[in-house]
């Protein structure tokens, strides 16, 4: 199983590395954004799908990473890569504070608090226009010189692969079991000796760190930041990606993010209608297939073969039995 996973990961890295040979210009940009969403969706899955903490502040944390890094570069002489790291760490710190605040609460409280935090933070950021230039947009220095998108692509691919690897290792260690134990039943987990407080905070910190990292990269890639990257419907998009892909698997979330991003670019000419359709798909998937679409599709593709063979076998056996009976 482990061998298979590593093989799968290695082949995805090779395919990912070769993509710029076939994809250029605008679609390479779309691919870069897809990778950004993939990091956000997978880290949200770690928090929501695995640990059961439904946070709506994920994009606000990405925004904190982006604005911290951008303002540091603009106002101090810190090197760019360091400022990105500081952005990610700031997001992790704020994530830790949010985690600490909602620690003793459960269920809808986490969702209620984070949605309020996210929206009010966005508005306050827009109001502090002296610092952030508000809705006019903050111009952010680019990560690389020149106009080529290739270095950006390989950087975000590297971040995506490394963050997925780290999250995969965490989720497959005993910590992953603690997270799932907390999701299923906090009291039972705590009785069994899981330090609920510590691991809830840990999930918030890890997930916020990667959100902040992705956000900081995004700012330096796009070159322009507005508080609108944290709008609630944008958060809805991340959730749609995770849920459609499958909320309880990193691979599902990544697949969902890439699929939804490409579909949404492909259907761009339909404008508002595609967003309505995505939301409708999200509602229908939630209602009828809570494991998302990727895993059931996988099951259908591979288990259909097994089922067909089993049926054939049974027919043969029954045939022999019937013949013997006569």
């Amino acid at each position: 199983m482990r061998y298979k996973t590593i093989l799968f990961l290695a082949s995805s890295v090779v395919i990912g590395g070769l993509i710029p040979l076939f994809v250029h210009g605008y679609w390479l940009h779309v691919t870069i954004i897809a990778c950004y969403y993939a990091i956000l969706a997978s880290s949200w899955t770690l928090l929501a799908g695995y640990t059961g903490q439904f946070s709506f502040a994920h994009l606000a944390l990405a925004g904190i990473g982006a604005y911290t890094s951008a303002l540091l570069v603009l106002n101090t002489s810190i090197p760019l890569y360091l400022s990105i790291l500081i952005g990610a760490l700031t997001a992790a710190l704020i994530g830790c504070l949010i985690g600490g605040l909602v620690l003793r609460l459960r269920g809808p409280y986490v969702a209620l608090f984070t949605i309020a935090f996210s929206e009010i933070f966005r508005i306050a950021l827009g109001a502090e226009y002296k610092f952030t230039r508000g809705n006019l947009g903050l111009e952010v220095p680019p990560l690389f010189e020149g106009t080529s998108k290739l270095p950006y692509y390989y950087t975000i691919l590297g971040i995506l692969v490394i963050s997925l690897l780290i999250m995969w290792i965490i989720l497959n260690s005993r910590y992953g079991l603690f997270f799932r134990a907390i999701r299923e039943n906090e009291e039972a987990a705590s009785v069994m000796g899981v330090n609920v407080v510590r691991y809830k905070m840990m999930a918030f910190v890890i997930s916020s760190f990667f959100a902040g990292l992705a956000g900081a990269f995004y700012g330096h890639y796009v070159g322009m930041l507005t508080p609108n990257i944290m709008l609630i419907p944008q958060m809805g998009l991340i959730i749609a990606m995770s849920v459609i892909g499958g909320i309880e698997s990193l691979a599902g979330a990544v697949t969902g993010a890439i699929t939804v991003q490409f579909l949404s670019e492909y259907l761009r000419e339909y404008g508002q209608l595609r967003l309505v359709l995505f939301a409708l798909v999200l509602v229908v998937v939630l209602r009828f297939s809570q494991n998302g679409l990727v895993y059931p599709l996988y099951q259908w593709l591979f288990e259909r073969k097994i089922r067909a063979e089993l049926t054939k076998e049974r027919v043969k056996v029954e045939g022999i039995r019937n013949a013997g009976g006569k």
């Binding site: 059961g52 439904f54 709506f56 605040l101 909602v102 003793r104 609460l105 459960r106 269920g107 809808p108 409280y109 969702a111 209620l112 608090f113 949605i115 309020a116 935090f117 929206e119 009010i120 933070f121 508005i123 306050a124 827009g126 109001a127 502090e128 609630i232 419907p233 809805g236 959730i239 749609a240 849920v243 508002q272 209608l273 967003l275 309505v276 939301a279 409708l280 999200l282 509602v283 939630l286 209602r287 809570q290």
Partner: protein
Amino acid sequence: MAEYLALQALNGLVIGLLYVLMATGLSLIFSVLKIVNFAHGELYMLGGFASYYLTRLLGINPFLAVSLSMLIVFLLGVIIEFLLLHPIYTGAIERKDEYAILMTFALSIFLQNLALMIFGPWTKNPSPFTSGTTTIGFLTTSNNRLIVAALAIVLILALLVTINKTFVGKGLRAVSQDRDAASIVGINPHRMNLLAFGVGAALAGGAGALIGPIFFVEPTMGTLPGIKCFVIIILGGMGSIKGSIIAGIILGEVESLGSVLLLDPTRGLAYKNAFGLLILIIILLIKPTGLFGEKYVRME
């Protein structure tokens, strides 16, 4: 200054009453269905648009339009409960809390995008109830606002009487206390779910229909009031209608007076919304159950 403060206090009261109207709907839904409706702001928005189209396109009397808008949103709420939330109570859903959060949130995104597509992103004005101003002492305010406040009070009182004095209200309270026990004594919990969600939605829609004539309506107008309702129900205590009423007025006043007292006017408008977050952080640190809340009961 004192006159200005008094005027702000009056405005805070009017806005607070609309918050109360909306938040009592959210509280009613929470106490009976044990879920938080994240699409509450969008139901409010739909109420606003319903009254806009009823008054401007069909030329219906604004007072009648408010009740018709509430009826429309009531029916929508009933349909939503029947199609999307019913499976929670039949045992078809494994993780009920998560399902309810994600489903109502997805619904809010769907309704907002649908409204953007159908109604367009522009702001619109429903017909005002009346014109002119009234002066009481040194306070001058528009008659429109006074009528909105009066209608909000009437609706809140009607809700309180229905819940506390009628047979249906007794049924709602019974289901909110114990679903199984209620169904043993012959109350159909699912019918009460439909009713509570419908009435909760109608209250949000009513608030939207009332705010339209004072401000305007647009597809994204529901997001912030929706979030403020979350602040209110946490401050008042989840599921407590009395708590929602007091907390709603508190939030309206804190926002109106706080933005005048503390900050320069240009940023005050934006920071008005930050007071809600501040209240939320304080209440979560000091008393997470809110002013009148009981210990939060997990849905099983």
